[in-house]
Each structure stands twice: as C-alpha cells, then as structure tokens.
Amino acid sequence: MAKRIEVSGLHAYYGGTLAIEDISMTIEPRSVTAFIGPSGCGKSTFLRTLNRMHEVIPGARVEGKVMLDDDDLYGPSVDPVAVRRTVGMVFQRPNPFPTMSIYENVAAGLRLNGVRGKSKLDDVVEESLRDANLWNEVKDRLGKPGAGLSGGQQQRLCIARAIAVQPQVLLMDEPCSALDPISTLAIEDLVAKLKNQFTIVIVTHNMQQAARVSDRTAFFNIAGTGKPGKLIEIDDTSTIFTKPQEQATEDYITGRFG
C-alpha cells in the first residue's frame, strides 16, 4: 500500500518559463518527506509533478523521469487519470465539493470512478472518515453539506476523500496554512498516523511543522526572482535541522532569510 518514488533529472515549465530545474531525489515509502523553502522556490510545483497535476495548467509541461516503484509516471502509454488515482493529493485550501453532502464528498472519488454498491461505499466512507479522525464529529450528520463544517474539519474531510480511493502516495500541499493551531495539530497527528499506510509528501512553509512531522526533509531554493527553483539538499530531518551540508540550508533554517 505504499510505494517508493524516484525522481531523476526533472525540469518543469510554465509555458516558456523554467520553474524548477534538474531535480533528483528518492522518497521513501511509509515515511513522511517534507519540502521546505522560501516562497516561489518551486516546492509546490515539484509536488504537482508527482501526480501529473502540473500539466493541468495550460502551457505547463514536465521533462525528466518519475518512477513509482517500477512504473514511469511520464511513460508514453501512461494515463494521467490512473496516476492521480494512485497518487492522491490534498490542497492548501480545503475544497469539499459544495453540492455534495459529507458522505457524498468522501464517496466522490469512488462513485465518479464508477464504483456502485451501497454497503461497500458505506464501509469505505466510515473507514476513511475514521482514518481521517473525523468520524466521531460527523457520524450523525453524514447527509449534511460538507461546506458546513469548520475549516479544520473540511480539511480532514478532504483528506478522507483523498484516502478513500486507496492511493499509494498522498501529496499534501501546505495542508495547514489556512488552519488554526488546534486544527493544525489534528492534521499533524493524522499525518503521523497515516504514514503507516501511505508514502506521504508534505509541502510546508512552517519549519517547525517539518521538524515535527517529517522523517526526511528536502530544502528548495531559488537564486533570485525569475530564476528556476532547485533542490539544495535532502536528508534525514534531524540532520537537516542540526548539521546541514549546505550553507543556504543553514541560513534558511536559522531564519537568516526566507
């Protein structure tokens, strides 16, 4: 239920602009990898190349290789829709479907992919909501609109929705940046729990959060505005935060810039 991601020589473009340049890294299964770095350094762009969401933006394209165990995500015969079913994603802002109830939101991924059968859906919805630490709060109002929940609950609903389709990898793009500290704590607890099942990649601009939740940390940086983002280094989180190899990493984590 969890796969290793190996990226080599990856470039991503928006139209003619090179957004991230020559990134290679290995993301270990059943662990949490955090991406940190200043704004505009390409960490979100890189994250979106891992489930082929980058190319949804008009004019955006990717060069390089992303291997999910033995499968090349950018292979010529690969269906991006199938990739996204295997590599799930949680976004910065909670985005439950406004026309759907809590139940329908969680079941959406399965239903829209043609899964029928109420008892199966019931089971998946309950299990996903339990995994997302939301079941106890919503079990009596599954028919109510998902948009009626609080921000933190909505984000956990979105996580339940993402894990309901049983992905191998879960990408999280600053999932706590729009949330209060209590909800953030709930999400962080959830990440720690989910890493037993999934490979988790989390983008964060909060270094304390990276230190708290991740096993490995990758630091991205840009040489200046308009320049492409690059991976500076990736290592065990404790190493990055105590004795990083690169001066730029140390400057960033000690708050000298960023």
Partner: protein, 291 residues
C-alpha cells in the same frame, strides 16, 4: 459630542445625503415604469380573465364580438417555447462547456465567442426572416409552430451561452483540481462536479432567455403565420401564440378585441412568472450548501 477622533465634516455629510437621495431617486425612476406596466395590464386585463378566455379559441369570432379566448394561443406559445428550449439549451450549454472547459483562449474559442456576441445583437425580425427564407421558402416547409421555434432558437442560444459561460467561469478552479486529483476523468468532472455547482445559475440564465423569447412577436408572424383556430400539432399548419394573439387583437379597434389583448398580455406575464417560480423551486433543491 466632539472627541479626539473628530466629527463628520459638514461637507461629507452633505455629500452623503446627496448620494443617498440620488440613489433613491434612481430607484424610484426604475420602479415607476415597472409598477405602471403591471398595474395597467392587470387593470385592463382583469375584465376578460374568465373561464371562457382559457377554454375557447377565436374560431368564428370577429373583433366586435364578446367572448372568445386565447386557448389556441396559450397552447401554441407553450409548445413553441418548449420546443425552443429543448433545442436551444443543450446546444447553448454544450457550447459554454466547450468555451470554458476546453477552448480556453484558443483561436477557435475566440471565434465562437465573437459570433455568440454577434448573435446576441441579431434583431428578432431578422431571425424570423432567416427562418422564412431558409426553412419555408428554400426547403419548402409550410408555416408551423416548429418553424417559429427555429426562429426563437436563434434568439435563445446566445443568451443562454453567455449566461452559462459566466456561471461555469464562477466555479472555483479548486473544485476541478480536487476532482482531477481523485483520478476522476475530465468529462465526469464536468458532469458530476462542475455542472451541478453551476446548475442554479445556468437555470436562472435559461429562465431569463425563456422569458425573452416568450414575448417575441415579429419572428413568429413570419414563421407560424396566423390562425384563430386550435392547432395542437406544432409540426404542421399555422399555429397561434400569445404575442401574435395580442398583436392581432390590439390592432382591432373594437373594445371587445382590445380587452382580449390586455388579458392576453396579463396571461403572458403570469405564465412567465409561474415558470420563473417553478424554476426557483427546482433551483432551491440543487443550491450549493452555504457555510
């Protein structure tokens, strides 16, 4: 009451009052014609608002005769507008989906958008003349309610395209991405996420367009022709309609005919209001839930 924060200066107070007065006057000016039209139509139309009006046609009834009704016209209008809606709405909504979800800023999408704008500006009589020239004279079909529907379709499509396009654009991109990220194909995303989210707005746009074409007279005169008798088959022979009924009766100098014209106008307004009401009830069921 002077405090360290100061008081509102007299000049600002005067400007505030002046602006408020201006807004109220503008509001009153806008409402006067609306109320006046409604009042006039109700006051004049009430005379003939009787069962006869809804149960009889004008067959064998001359302008000076009392009695007679608009049964044939009501049937005609409902059939013609229903056919128009059935043809125009799918074409228009699919066009809007293309423009927003697929076309983007491509050359073809820009061309389509341009011609939709051009179509919006077509005078309704030109749409009627077009159908007359093509459908009736070139292809040789006879006058029918369906020919009228074709003319109305030309008028309805651009309005619905614009409304639907605006509504689809309002659907947040977050929702599309959320759906794609679940591994949902694009067409399913459009059918099950985007369209339901935009449904209420699209329905409102459709109702406005229906209201617009329901009152069109000129294109119908050229395409459904004219009859005093009941013709329930929209595909063959001249058919009545409320706008042409009103036009015919109002141009007759006899008071009995003029009274029928007023009641026809009242019924037309009431029909549009009823349809709007029904649409709102439907929309309420599909409304995206608020926070």
């Amino acid at each position: 009451m002077s405090s360290s924060l100061g008081t509102v200066s007299p000049v600002r107070r005067i400007k505030d009052r002046a602006a408020a007065a201006f807004v109220w006057i503008a509001f009153a000016l806008a409402v006067i014609p609306l109320v006046s039209v409604l009042w006039t139509v109700v006051a004049h139309g009430i005379h003939r608002l009787d069962p006869t009006f809804f149960n009889f046609s004008m067959n064998g009834i001359a302008g000076r005769d009392a009695g007679g009704g608009a049964y044939h016209a009501i049937i005609g209008t409902l059939e013609q507008v229903a056919i128009t809606t059935v043809i125009a709405v799918p074409i228009a909504v699919l066009t809007a989906i293309y423009l927003v979800e697929y076309g983007g800023n491509s050359r073809f999408a820009r061309v389509v958008r341009f011609f939709v704008d051009v179509m919006t500006g077509i005078p309704s009589i030109v749409a009627g003349l077009f159908v007359l020239a093509l459908w009736l004279l070139t292809f040789g079909f006879q006058y029918s309610g369906f020919a009228g529907s074709l003319a109305l379709t030309i008028l309805m499509i651009p309005t619905v395209v614009r409304a639907a396009e605006e509504m689809l654009k309002l659907v947040p991109n977050d929702l599309r991405e959320a759906s794609y990220a679940l591994g949902v194909p694009r067409w399913r995303t459009i059918c099950f996420v985007i369209l339901p989210t935009a449904f209420t707005g699209i329905l409102t746009g459709v109702m406005l367009a229906v209201a617009r074409v329901m009152g069109e007279t000129a294109p119908l005169l050229l395409t459904i022709f004219f009859t005093k008798a009941i013709n329930t088959d929209p595909f063959s022979g001249p058919q009545g309609s409320l706008p042409t009924f009103i036009w015919d009766q109002a141009s007759d100098p006899n008071q009995n005919a003029v009274n029928r014209a007023w009641t026809g106008a009242l019924v037309l307004i009431a029909l549009i209001m009823l349809l709007n009401l029904a649409a709102r009830l439907v929309a309420r069921r599909f409304r995206p839930a608020g926070r």
